[in-house]
């Protein structure tokens, strides 16, 4: 008994949590205290290896951890109390699940003997978060805690990454037990993600690629999740094959936007050339993307004439929406490496000159065209100006959700992975500002910009206070169109322009708001003043709210209208009232 008291692995549950964070290389966590996590906060107070960032709302902690994770490739960690602390985490957990972001959330719970009693700030946290985590655990015995924490980190970061939650009752935090460092046996034997692609399938894929006449590579967030090696291999594959490449919203930056084979983003607001290339191709190589409905448009008309190769680490992504010919289950990096090796040994660059000529014709349609004005700032122009001013700088971009997000994806050129943080799958307004906080914590000397909308930014505005407290010089670049622009656009196109509750009534004065937070407020109305104002925003070494007043009624084009195929895109120059009405004509006639 007595020698146990000298055992350095004997400690309280609360101490184990901090110890496990350190053992997993965690240096920063995002959290908010409360009754059920006070023992953990007490431990945090008494050490200096893990920095705790105090947010202003638990949702902010979750998105900050997501931004941290996406910009570093490491897991993000959030710490919240029981009850409302945990329920406030539901949105970021779901967001991270949809976008495959490694997140470890530790939540406090009421003491075990009170569980089920409707105790103060009790909720069924594992029940509520079961469908929005990759896995979750309720730890009832302090001697299970080390194992569960280690497994949690492993599950979050391995295979298809995702959010996990560990619910720790307060008595377990107080109890003393035995800690152990991470070891292999901490993980369920039933969990073994497949990393290596099947060799026969890889051969089939190479033979399709080598004989392609009209190929396309369609890459997604999986390439970025797989790590820098996967990005390198993807770029090499494009080089070796000479194939055109497009990407999903989540995959931007894996292939550089300045690269000569780049077609731009695909999907609902993708470029004409990307969508036409997808539609008319004869061989499609999908790497780490999941044929989501914003990508495919109408599924029965999706790329009808192509043989499809699909590389994904998650077998449940295969044949979910679109039937593919050559599925390859494995890690993108591994599989791309194998494909390259076989291709280089046995195939040569196919001659696809005529395909490129066809693509050049589609490109010439200039689908991202918009008309600049001297009187009012066009939102597309604002993004382009921001891009020009930050080009070559060490910049990270986050976004909120709406038109501004799509314009950012269309007009900001990403050259590297991990530089673009956006809520793709869930489409969470309020993601970008706290995500920027997380990114800036991870990269204190970089330029971190949230491209925001006037409505979205108000959802998590309180995190400005966090940015000010920790001297995080994030830049909130608001494309202020005084509307929930994306909602207004759909109402215009699909609901007879009845703008039901989409006007941003009673907007705050963002400059005064910034000042109230102790940040810097800037406002610009005129195109002529834009560049100067952006320069000023960049040079200020403090958090900035930038109120960029833009054209109110601009629509985001090109767009694949309702129930239409990739080759039925509506281009900006066609988007006059009549053509728009025709393209969107459906059950509800347009006025």
């Amino acid at each position: 008994m007595s020698d146990k008291s000298h055992d350095p692995n004997q400690m309280t549950g609360a101490a184990m949590i901090v110890r496990a964070l350190i053992d997993h290389g965690v240096t920063d966590i995002f959290g908010y205290p409360g009754g059920a996590v006070l023992p953990i906060y007490d431990e945090i107070f008494q050490q200096s290896q893990v920095q705790h960032i105090l947010v202003r709302h638990e949702q902010g902690a979750g998105h900050a951890a997501e931004g941290y994770a996406r910009s570093t490739g490491k897991p993000g960690v959030a710490l919240v109390t029981s009850g409302p602390g945990a329920t406030n985490m539901v949105t970021p957990l779901t967001d991270a699940l949809m976008d495959s972001i490694p997140l470890v959330c530790i939540s406090g719970q009421v003491p075990t003997h009170l569980i089920g009693n409707d105790a103060f700030q009790e909720c069924d946290t594992v029940g509520i978060t079961r469908p929005c985590t990759k896995h979750n655990w309720l730890v009832r015995d302090v001697n299970d805690l080390a194992k569960v924490l280690h497994e949690a980190f492993y599950v979050a970061t391995s295979g298809r990454p995702g959010p996990v939650l560990v619910d720790v009752p307060k008595d377990v935090q107080f109890a003393t037990g035995t800690y152990h460092p991470p070891r292999k046996s901490d993980v369920h034997r039933s969990y073994a993600p497949r990393l290596k692609g099947d060799a026969a399938q890889i051969r089939k894929a190479v033979s399709l690629l080598a004989n392609a006449k009209r190929p396309v590579i369609y890459s997604g967030g999986g390439v970025i999740n797989s790590g820098l090696e996967a990005t390198k291999l993807l770029r090499e594959l494009v080089e070796v094959t000479g194939f055109p490449i497009t990407s999903t919203l989540m995959g931007l930056g894996a292939y550089p936007a300045s690269g000569k084979n780049w077609l731009g983003m695909l999907g609902m607001h993708g470029t004409y050339e990307a969508n036409m290339t997808m539609h008319d191709c004869d061989v499609m190589l999908c790497v780490g993307a999941r044929f989501d409905d914003r990508i495919t448009g109408r599924v029965d008309a999706f790329s009808p004439g192509s043989k499809k190769i699909h590389i994904d680490i998650d077998p449940s992504s295969i044949n979910k929406n679109i039937r593919v010919d050559v599925p390859i289950i494995g890690d993108c990096g591994n599989v791309l490496g194998d494909i390259l090796q076989v291709f280089k040994a046995e195939a040569k660059k196919p001659d696809i000159r005529s395909w490129w000529q066809q693509i050049a014709q589609w490109r010439a349609r200039n689908s991202l065209y918009y008309k600049k004005s001297n009187d009012v700032i066009l939102p597309q122009h604002a993004i382009q100006a921001l891009f020009e001013q930050t080009r070559g700088k060490d910049t990270y971009i986050t976004t909120e959700v709406g038109q501004h997000q799509m314009w950012a994806a269309q007009f900001y050129g990403f050259e590297e992975p991990h530089r673009w943080m956006t809520s793709g799958g869930l489409g969470t307004m309020g993601y970008g500002l706290p995500a920027a906080v997380g990114v800036q914590v991870a990269h204190p000397d970089s330029l971190v910009i949230d491209i925001a909308g006037d409505a979205s930014v108000q959802m998590t505005m309180q995190e400005m206070s966090t940015a000010v407290q920790y001297e995080l010089p994030i830049k909130i670049f608001i494309l202020n169109n005084q509307y929930m622009g994306m909602v207004r656009q759909w109402q215009q196109l699909l609901h007879g322009n009845r703008l039901s509750h989409s006007y941003s009534e009673a907007l705050p004065d963002f400059v005064k708001l910034a000042e109230a937070y102790g940040a810097v407020g800037l406002q610009v109305h005129k195109p002529a003043d834009l560049d100067g104002a952006i320069k000023e925003m960049i040079s200020v070494k403090r958090p900035v709210l930038f109120d960029c007043r833009v054209a109110a009624l601009e629509n985001c084009f090109p767009m694949i209208p309702s129930g239409k195929a990739h080759n039925e895109m509506l281009l900006p120059e066609q988007a006059n009232d009549e053509a728009t009405a025709k393209a969107f004509a459906g059950g509800k006639a347009l006025v």
Partner: protein, 180 residues
Amino acid sequence: MNQPASAYFIEDRHDPNETHTLAVLVQNEPGVLARVIGLFSGRGYNIESLTVSETEAQKHLSRITIVTTGTPMVIAQIKNQLDRMIPVYQVVDMTQTKRSIERELAMVKVRGQGEHRVEALRLADAFRARVIDATTESFVFEITGNTDKINQFIDLMRPLGLVEVSRTGVAAIGRGPEGM
């Protein structure tokens, strides 16, 4: 095509549905059944029958047998979705292997007198159902068999005074010497 005003493509799928029996081997731990059931309700899959019990106590293994219906694409999705859950060891499609035996047990309470009572007993005998409880005006029968046989027996008992039925749901196992 008359699409409503939505940017989603709203599609009717016309692939025919199939019924499959899946055997799912899981770690027996708190919440594992909730995970499996939550997957079905959350993703809109059907559960026709579900049985669960610990089958290897030392290894903490439970076996869940699920009868589900869906198009071939949906059935494949269900298997993949189950398989990627952390505490799931293995998912076997017992219908696809075509070499499995399925059994269900039911207890059937019938109340009646005179001719009905005699007829119920006679039918029970023909179905190899056993009497496990009896009063002067009632029987409880125990019957095992595949789902069709049990349905048939219950249908026959209905006009004879069927009171209630308790069924275990389907359990399935492969033929031959190999395990799953």
